[in-house]
């Protein structure tokens, strides 16, 4: 298949994913309510924690609230809130549908990532923006005006790819075991813990922080969210972006190998 043909195929996947999400309007609104609720809880927690204190671990109260607004807004965009898409993929592997995909000259992993972008686009429009505006309005937050924030879309795009690849790797375990629930749950916990979804990594004690900086998970959440909320600058920003790019490269290579192995395994054992 020509390169242009491939690109068109992937765009099609992305568009389908977008449309699929768009069909569940009511579910989207209830999801927004849930996200907003979590934001409220964390925001108030931080306001209470800071109390009269100015700066803790390099953060101020307003910055922390803004971090959460950004985090909750971007959770669905990054695709790290639930194992749903991962489970769908694993189910396709289990039922053998994926054999059809493997025959088509389209990389399975790439398709998965394309679909993640499609759904991310939907959530940027229909969730992230709404949540962010509501949060900013409610707390009278100042928008982050440092120039580094312009790099946020890039970091978010990298984050989507990283999260998608991680999910792909976890659900690809379905090639060998029957179900992928276990690896997916473990992945979600790892992302939650090392990605700083609930608590920015700066508040972690040094040893935990070190581990988090080495592992790929912060690239899926912390780097884009901290950058978009204006907290990542200078050297830290550079490190964050390089970390994302480097790890994404590694993960993609692993994904390619897994795909070859997985296809071979299916060919031998059947779907």
């Amino acid at each position: 298949m020509s390169f242009v043909g491939s690109v068109r195929a992937y765009l099609q996947f992305a568009r389908c994913a977008f449309q699929r999400r768009a069909a569940y309007r009511l579910a989207n609104w209830t999801g927004i309510a849930v996200n907003f609720f979590f934001f409220l809880v964390h925001a108030q927690l931080f306001v209470a924690l800071f109390g009269t204190r100015g700066t803790v671990a390099g953060w101020q109260a307003a910055e922390a609230v803004r971090y959460f607004a950004t985090s909750e807004a971007l959770l669905m965009v990054l695709g790290v809130m639930s194992t749903q898409t991962g489970l769908e993929f694993a189910e396709r592997v289990r039922s053998g549908d994926v054999a059809v995909d493997l025959v088509r000259p389209v990389r399975l992993w790439a398709r998965y990532v394309a679909e993640s972008y499609g759904s991310a686009a939907y959530y940027v429009l229909m969730r992230a923006s709404i949540l962010y505006v509501a949060a900013v309005a409610l707390y009278g937050l100042a928008l982050p005006l440092n120039p580094e924030v312009l790099l946020a879309p890039l970091s978010i795009a990298l984050g989507v790819a990283m999260a998608a690849t991680l999910m792909y790797l976890a659900s690809a375990s379905a090639f060998w075991t029957e179900q992928a629930h276990g690896p997916l749950s473990v992945l979600l916990v790892a992302i939650f813990f090392f990605g700083g979804i609930a608590v920015p990594l700066d508040f972690y004690p040094a040893p935990a922080r070190l581990v988090a900086d080495l592992l790929p998970f912060r690239g899926a959440v912390y780097t884009p969210v901290a950058l978009a909320s204006g907290k990542l600058r200078g050297v830290a920003l550079l490190f964050g972006l390089l970390h994302q790019i480097g790890w994404l490269g590694v993960l993609v290579l692993v994904a390619q190998r897994i795909e070859q192995r997985g296809a071979a395994h299916l060919a031998v054992h059947g779907g």
Partner: protein, 269 residues
């Protein structure tokens, strides 16, 4: 009395069948149980780091927060495991499984409750109890305190059972479209209740105390256990209301479910 015993007998047998069904897939169960077992640590540890970085939260120590967390998480994880049938009620309704339950000479709520016990959630319960145990030990709670903790856990269990049953009841009207709202009360609620209700802003506090009575799940019993009820500005009788409020919510949920069932029987699927 005889009917209650007979129902309990059936409950135990059906739960046993559900557990045996799950154990058929041993590898899968092991992997998922392991995955689940990390969740509590993954959830609690960041909060632990956070509060430690601040040295406390409005006069509440780490151990006291761990107590709150242990209590609410034990209640919720227990219900999440035990009443899985209600959580999957939407799909069951659409498949027509509810008809089958109506065709058996036993109560429908009993059958739904007994339908599926997700045993891997027991790992979560165990971890929550571990966190709770450590908190109790650090705080050196006496018998009275322990009694309040137990009351809080029991009340919380009733409350989350109510939420889950109510969530299932709404399926009779909405068929799965509002399932997420239940998550707000269960996962969101237990996240919010990890911290003392007093830290929240006035309007949030009011909603969570008088609106949806989340505060009665673990906060008030914990206040009583820690002898902080008066210090927090509440009259001494309030913690005693907790089990009553939670039971009330459960009865209301049960009534809602019965109503939904009546509607289902008159309009079909």
């Amino acid at each position: 009395m005889r009917s209650v015993l007979s129902d309990l007998d059936l409950y135990v047998r059906l739960i046993g069948a559900s557990v045996r069904s799950q154990m058929q897939y041993r590898l899968n169960f092991a992997i998922r149980a392991f995955g689940d077992s990390l969740v509590v640590i993954g959830d609690f540890l960041p909060l632990y780091f956070l509060v430690r970085a601040f040295g406390g939260l409005q006069g509440w120590t780490l151990a006291e927060i761990a107590l709150l967390y242990g209590m609410v998480e034990t209640s919720w994880a227990t219900i999440e495991g035990a009443l899985w049938g209600f959580e999957r009620f939407g799909p069951y309704l659409i498949e027509g499984r509810v008809d089958r339950w109506l065709l058996r000479p036993r109560g429908v709520i009993l059958q739904v409750a007994a339908h599926w016990f997700e045993i891997r959630k027991l790992g979560r319960v165990a971890q929550a109890l571990l966190v709770l145990g450590i908190a109790i030990w650090v705080l050196r709670l006496d018998g009275r305190g322990l009694a309040w903790v137990a009351t809080g856990i029991a009340g919380g269990t009733l409350f989350f059972a109510a939420v889950v049953i109510l969530g299932a009841a709404t399926q009779f009207w909405t068929l799965g479209q509002t399932a997420e709202l239940q998550n707000m009360l269960t996962y969101g609620g237990s996240a919010a209740l990890t911290f003392p209700v007093s830290i929240y802003s006035t309007w949030f506090r009011r909603i969570v105390t008088y609106g949806v009575p989340l505060a009665f799940v673990n906060y008030f019993p914990a206040l009583a256990a820690l002898r902080r009820t008066a210090a927090a500005g509440w009259p001494a009788f309030v913690p005693w209301l907790s089990p009553i409020v939670c039971l009330g919510v459960l009865l209301a949920a049960r009534a809602a479910f019965a109503q939904g069932l009546r509607r289902y029987e008159s309009t079909g699927s």
